[in-house]
């Protein structure tokens, strides 16, 4: 599935603000996307994986210990690489379409 371009895996990813609130979210993304790699830069965290990145409400809620609306993801993101394939009340899925 992982399509290779120029010898590299075609990554999808999100850049998130490095804040207290987002630590639980980042942990949830790591748990649900086993191949995810994290790169820490001042003030932010860059998460990349392939072929798709999933943010699952149930995992985020379990880690944060409170209800979490998938719209709250908008408060966390700085940038997205990939296509938003799904964004509903239960999950957000980012992958390339073709």
């Amino acid at each position: 599935m992982a399509e290779r371009t120029a010898g590299r895996v075609r990554q999808v990813g999100v850049d998130l603000q490095d804040t207290e609130d987002n630590r639980g979210l980042i942990e949830a993304i790591e748990r649900d996307n086993a191949d995810a790699t994290l790169r820490r830069m001042p003030g932010m965290v860059k998460i990349q994986t392939h072929p798709q990145l999933t943010v699952r409400r149930s995992t985020v809620e379990e880690i944060l210990g409170r209800p979490w609306d998938t719209n709250e993801f908008q408060l966390a993101i700085i940038s997205i690489s990939g296509n938003v394939a799904e964004w509903d009340e239960d999950e957000i899925v980012i992958r390339w379409e073709h």
Partner: protein
């Protein structure tokens, strides 16, 4: 009654609120969406992947603003500006406030126009949200940077400067070019080129750099704005795909626009490249690395294979942009350095440690081409003969940057292209800008080129002090950083403890 799902709510609150016109035709109601040759058969095929509704939009945007203003307020209260690495850093905020913030306002205005004039309710609502976002960015950037205006030069009157000062015609003309095109080309220019490609490089690594240089306020507005941009770029991508899916005849038109706006955006990024490598005293990531990560990896290797499905190939001249990553930031800096006496920022030769960093980041070019020149310029400055270019530079007819670029892969060979149109000669800086000029000579011959305007007597008068006054510049705004009031104040404010 069961709670409506996100999908149902989105449908109800966008499409469900639209109506079919009865006493005018669609063409009369939406007169601007046909002349560009783009064919749309089904506007309802466009869907916002965020499924954003007006209540959710207001709720989360107000939460973003609350968080941002809490940071800005406490940063100002705690004299946060004193924690910056060096007063040189604030020059990047000058470029930002003069060059970028007014563009946010222009975007706000033009998305309000799209919110009225696009035929489909889905894209109209998305444009309305984006219009409000852009106004928010203009306001939050102004608020966040205004605290520095009390202490540092060059941050007053950014709107006047944006309209008049020579280097600011680079971003201004970029946006004017987009606004004066039709709505579909504007979407390609702004939602795609500007949002997708440019803001990632401006708002992500640069803002991380702001954090690293102690400027929490700018980092916060940057990331807060970029959280909107990530929605805008998703919508921009959605727009592109929607247009491509609607009719095969749209593909060559879109390809032309992608080619044009890639190069327009890339040339504008020259200023960002310089900010990234030179205006951040403490370095996070070089321009070259940021370009590789966000442009080569995410855009060329990620996005373009997706667009290939529709018959879109990577942008024309992209290989030239890739070759230039090795030296473009240095070429732009050298232009800004030698014309700082007529600008609303100051520059200075980087410290030795910074030059060592540049040599590591740019092993093939820095020590060979730039360090020797900088050492000479520094020696001149120390001898009291700071180098300023006494002439006025020739500007590229398209990107409006002084003609300081070189032949691709040959950093020592000055590049210049020209085209003859109706007996007049027009100069351009590169194959990319020449191609853009020759595609639409009637548009670009009208460019408001600051140097031409000075020579024509439209900028306050024939002498430099008259032009500077017309630009709205004040003493302290310009020149060599080491001689500036900002540098003197910075030293005074950082004297050993116990001294006021």
């Amino acid at each position: 009654m069961a709670k409506a799902s996100m999908r149902e709510r989105y449908t109800e609150l966008t499409r469900g609120l639209a109506w079919e016109p009865t006493y005018v035709s669609h063409e009369q109601l939406y007169p601007h969406t046909r002349f560009e040759g783009i064919k749309i058969h089904d506007w309802d095929a466009w869907e916002d992947p965020f499924r954003l509704t007006v209540d959710a939009y207001a709720k989360y945007q107000s939460e973003k603003d609350k968080r941002l203003y809490a940071v800005v307020d406490s940063f100002a209260q705690g004299q946060g500006h004193l924690n910056a690495t060096d007063a040189r850093y604030f020059n990047s905020l000058r470029l930002f406030l003069q060059g970028v913030t007014p563009l946010e306002y222009a975007a706000h205005r033009h998305f309000a126009y799209l919110a009225r004039h696009l035929d489909g309710p889905g894209p109209r609502f998305a444009s309305l949200c984006q219009s409000i976002d852009e106004l928010r960015h203009n306001q939050t950037e102004t608020h966040a940077i205004s605290m520095y205006n009390k202490y540092y030069d060059g941050l007053h009157n950014p709107n006047l400067m944006h309209d008049r000062v020579w280097y600011l015609s680079v971003p201004k003309s970029f946006f004017d070019d987009g606004i004066s095109a039709g709505p579909f080309e504007f979407m390609t220019a702004i939602s795609f080129s500007f949002e997708y490609f440019l803001t990632n490089l401006l708002f992500v690594p640069f803002m991380s750099g702001a954090s690293f240089n102690g400027d929490l306020s700018t980092m916060s507005f940057g990331f807060s704005a970029q959280s909107d941009e990530s929605r805008h770029m998703t919508l921009g991508l959605e727009c592109i795909k929607f247009i491509l899916e609607q009719d095969e005849d749209n593909v060559p038109i879109m390809q032309d626009w992608i080619d044009k706006w890639f190069w327009r955006g890339y040339r504008l990024l020259g200023l960002v490249a310089c900010m990234q490598d030179y205006f951040l005293p403490k370095k996070v990531m070089s321009w070259k690395e940021a370009f590789e990560l966000y442009l080569e990896q995410q855009m060329l290797e990620g996005l373009f294979p997706d667009l290939d499905y529709y018959g879109i190939r990577p942008p024309r001249h992209v290989e030239q942009a890739i070759a230039e990553k090795e030296y473009v930031s240095h070429q732009v800096f050298w232009v800004l350095y030698q014309f700082s006496h007529a600008a609303s920022f100051t520059t200075t030769i980087p410290h030795d440690e910074e030059m060592d960093w540049m040599a590591r980041q740019y092993p093939d070019t820095f020590n060979r081409y730039y360090r020797p020149m900088y050492l000479k310029a520094r020696a001149m400055q120390q001898a009291g003969k700071r180098f300023f270019n006494g002439g006025l530079p020739m500007l590229c007819q398209v990107c409006q940057i002084p003609m300081g670029f070189t032949e691709i892969g040959k950093p020592a060979l000055q590049a210049q292209r020209f085209s003859i149109h109706q007996g007049e000669r027009y100069n351009t800086c590169s194959d990319g800008c020449q191609w853009i000029f020759e595609r639409e000579p009637e548009k670009y011959r009208q460019a408001w080129l600051p140097v031409h305007q000075i020579y024509q007597g439209n900028c306050g008068g024939p002498t430099l002090p008259e032009v500077m006054e017309w630009y709205g510049l004040q003493p302290g705004d310009s020149g060599e950083y080491l001689d500036s009031q900002d540098a003197k104040n910075w030293e005074l404010w950082h004297q050993p403890e116990g001294v006021s």
